[in-house]
């Protein structure tokens, strides 16, 4: 017989339980806060990077107006920067990216492709990639040519019907993460006559296997053309690839890819009821226009700040992706010289900056004319052109400006939904809009749609609804920021159009970690990235701190620290929440900012012999530098000459207003290994400053293992 427990003991037990529970709940809440802060850090840094593109554009504009080259070399250098995204006429493309002359050696053990492709080719390819083999360049080029031919026949908006294939699977961003694609095929089955797929853009960039993903997707596209549908994403874009380093070595392949991307369809419609686009919509989205425009004219959709433009300038942006011409000056030029003037045999005197600017602009315009002719002549199969040169015999032909067409594409590739009503410019990304629930409602009503599916934004669970479940975001790259940061997901739709989700994480380790470990790990990665960003702004931070430290004590309050940091970095992060993990305060609640910044500096890769100001500049502008290097590297070999390297720096420093001695540059150069006769492998150079990568190789599992999570 058990005596009833005396009341005091039970009371004590109860109290103890409450205490533990109280403590535990607080622990979990703190963890949740840390998780959300981590997410905010990653997102704000990612979008700030995209904003850099605008800054780069401004840099080019600045160059155009202010830089006086002191030699013909420098002149060439600038002009070369502007004509990097040329479009090719069909015949020229075949010739330039010729593959038939490429021999596949007997020693090649990788997969062989023959055309037309068969299902066996696809499965062989998958097996080969799983074994880490590569596809021979000849086959790659052949595949790209065939893909382009196929895509050219497709309309801008693909139509899918669930009555034929019963179920449609929609996948979001993959970003070069081949393991995720393998996982999707493992869990869901390969594309086949009874299994339809829609891949909603952003196949490339950031992940390490962008080319493999393209190869797999294009192969399935050709094998099952009725069942596989691809939408263009904002990363299927030449300028964006340059920035994010879709590092395909081999100019032919890169050139072909540029000319395949522009032919990717823009949207997919399921049963006329579900619209699938990569980014989103805007209040001016017009599906009729989208169906009719010539999508392939837009090789790059990226653009800088808005201006009132003539059509000609819009084409400049289209073709080379970056606007160089100053609006007013260009209009002046257009007014005064309607046809391009012949290139002067000799450039004007270097001492006259304005003259030079004008000359460069003229030269650029000529290049553009040349490109435009190439592009236009490609459309000989079309009877009506929807450009501003409308046939006078058909007054009913739609007459949209290139500008309007371009905006349509930009909006669907770059926009993001927002909780508030309305539609405003997406200044964070630098392109597209933020669209509210009212915009969604209007578009759905206008076209009798049930809901939208889009991607473009990483979501923790791999998918997320918003706008009262009228907008679904689907994201298929798991562990995007870091192992354990997020799941990937895909969505299946049957004839009832009710979405069913499957989630996964393509990394074994993620499952063995506890929630705490997973969060800690991702958090560590986020803070490392954040500290690097802080370091990159050392000079500006010191100035900001000093403003709060008039007496020069070297210390400031934590409150002022938070305010100062936000004013410099402008990431919109909760700095007071993050502070304990970023900076230690003294007992009196003050922070010694000088030693804090020194600690930050020590953490970064030590390049002691380079002057610290320079180091900071490199960090802050690494992405921009990379883009510029890639543009200079015309043959896409990964190498630029020492001279070019030198010139890049000079241009940069004149824009950045920093004192850069020749010694400083020499120091830099000395820290790089020279390869191949005075050429610099800029990937090596940039890698030295790439300590933080969101997805670095070593973190990926070396052997793919299917996840059993569902």
């Amino acid at each position: 017989k058990r005596k009833r427990e005396p009341a005091p003991v039970h009371f004590a037990l109860n109290n103890a339980a409450v205490l533990i529970q109280r403590w535990y709940r607080r622990y979990v809440a703190r963890l949740e806060m840390r998780r959300r802060c981590t997410w905010r850090i990653f997102q704000s840094i990612e979008y700030a990077c995209e904003q850099d593109q605008i800054k780069l554009h401004n840099f080019f504009s600045y160059l155009m107006d202010h830089f006086t080259p002191s030699s013909s070399k420098e002149r060439d250098f600038i002009s070369r920067m502007f004509v990097s995204g040329e479009s090719f006429k069909e015949a020229e493309l075949e010739k330039y990216c010729d593959y038939e002359s490429m021999e596949v050696p007997d020693s090649y053990t990788g997969p062989h492709l023959s055309f037309p492709l068969l299902p066996d080719h696809a499965t062989t390819l998958l097996e080969a990639f799983k074994r880490k083999q590569q596809l021979h360049a000849r086959y790659v080029l052949n595949l790209l040519h065939e893909t382009r031919k196929h895509l050219k026949q497709l309309p801008n908006i693909s139509h899918v019907s669930t009555c034929y294939s019963e179920e449609v699977t929609v996948c979001g961003d993959l970003h070069g993460q081949l393991d995720d694609l393998f996982l999707i095929f493992y869990k869901n089955g390969l594309p086949s006559p009874s299994k339809s797929y829609v891949f909603n853009g952003d196949f490339v960039d950031r992940g390490k296997q962008s080319l493999e993903i393209l190869i797999v997707l294009f192969t399935f596209l050709l094998v099952y053309p009725n069942e596989v549908h691809l939408n263009r994403g904002n990363h299927e874009d030449h300028m964006v690839n340059l920035r994010y380093g879709f590092s395909v070595h081999g100019r032919k392949i890169l050139k072909m890819i540029q000319n395949v991307f522009c032919w990717l369809p823009l949207a997919t419609l399921i049963d006329q009821k579900v619209l699938i686009i990569h980014g989103g919509i805007s209040d001016t989205t017009d599906l009729d226009m989208l169906e009719k425009i010539q999508r392939h004219k837009f090789i790059s959709v990226l653009r800088g700040k808005k201006r009132k433009e003539s059509n000609r300038n819009v084409e400049i942006q289209e073709i080379i992706g970056e606007s160089k011409a100053d609006a007013s000056a260009a209009e002046h030029d257009a007014a005064s010289s309607p046809s391009p003037q012949p290139q002067p045999a000799q450039a004007p005197s270097m001492t006259n900056r304005l003259e030079f600017s004008k000359w460069v602009r003229q030269m650029v315009q000529e290049q553009i004319e040349r490109c435009r002719q190439l592009v236009d002549s490609e459309s000989e199969e079309e009877e009506l052109t929807y450009s501003s040169f409308v046939s006078m015999t058909d007054l009913n032909a739609p007459c949209w400006t290139r500008q309007e067409e371009w905006k349509q594409i930009l909006d669907i590739l770059w926009s993001d939904p927002m909780p508030q009503e309305g539609c405003r410019e997406n200044t964070v990304r630098g392109g597209g809009c933020y669209f509210g629930p009212d915009v969604t409602k209007k578009i759905l009503e206008k076209y009798s749609l049930q809901f939208l599916i889009r991607s473009h934004e990483c979501k923790q669970e791999g998918y997320e609804f918003c706008h009262s479940r009228k907008v679904l975001t689907i994201f298929s790259a798991s562990n995007y920021y870091e192992i354990g940061s997020n799941r990937g997901a895909y969505v299946k739709l049957g004839p009832d159009l009710v979405p069913h989700f499957v989630q996964y994480q393509a990394n074994k380790t993620a499952h063995t970690l506890t929630m705490t470990q997973r969060i800690s790990r991702v958090e560590e990665s986020a803070f490392r990235a954040l500290r690097e960003k802080l370091f990159a702004h050392t000079s500006a931070l010191i100035s900001a701190f000093k403003a709060y430290d008039k007496d020069g004590t070297g210390r400031i309050t934590l409150s002022n620290w938070a305010t100062a940091v936000e004013s410099v970095l402008r990431l919109g992060l909760p700095w007071r929440m993050l502070r304990p993990q970023l900076a230690h305060s003294m007992a009196d609640g003050m922070l010694e900012y000088k030693s804090w910044l020194e600690d930050l500096a020590m953490e970064q890769q030590s390049q002691e012999h380079i002057q610290s100001g320079l180091l900071e500049v490199i960090y802050r502008n690494r992405s921009n530098l990379e883009t510029i290097f890639r543009i200079i590297d015309r043959d896409h070999s990964g190498l630029i000459s020492f001279e070019e390297f030198h010139q890049t720096w000079k241009l940069f420093s004149s824009h950045m207003n920093i004192e850069l001695t020749d010694d400083g540059i020499n120091d830099l150069v000395r820290s790089i290994d020279f390869n191949k006769d005075g050429n610099i492998d800029f990937n090596e150079f940039l890698e030295a400053f790439q300590e933080t990568e969101f997805n670095s190789d070593c973190q990926k599992a070396s052997n793919w293992v299917p996840s059993l999570e569902s």
Binding site: Y24, V28, Q420, P580
Partner: protein, 168 residues
Amino acid sequence: MRDLVSSFLGVHSSDRVVAEIEKKVIEAFEVFDHECNKTVDVREIGSVVRSLGCYPTEAELQELLAEVEEEEPTGYIHLEKFLPVMTRVLLERSYQPIPEDVLLHAFEALDENKCGYLTKEELVKYMTEEGEPFTQEEMEDMLSAALEPETNTVCYKDYITLMIVDDV
């Protein structure tokens, strides 16, 4: 707002201190403000309060909620109601943190046989039947980190050390 808080307290706290606390509260609040409209779901307010360094019991949390909820509860808490109340809570240092040794004593109180560990069954019983019971999810979460799978026991001293280290 500052005057409101000060008079609320009947205490004269320096403006600076109050301003700083308010900024902290707003930051924490905004992390959970998903609609970006100065509201937080009532189910997540507990996380906001706790991540500001407070250790309220569920009962205390309910009391707090009663103060900040709308007259006709909408399921959302507005910042303008939450701010003065939370600022006061922080100034008064209500819901003090639990020191490590106190936590240890609590576990020891549950450990009848004083063997330095709890069995899985014991822990589950206490946490889900006593005090302010855990949900199944909370129980599973705690076990996933605390339980040693071979012995099916929780060595609470080690567990506490692990948690304290992780909890920056």
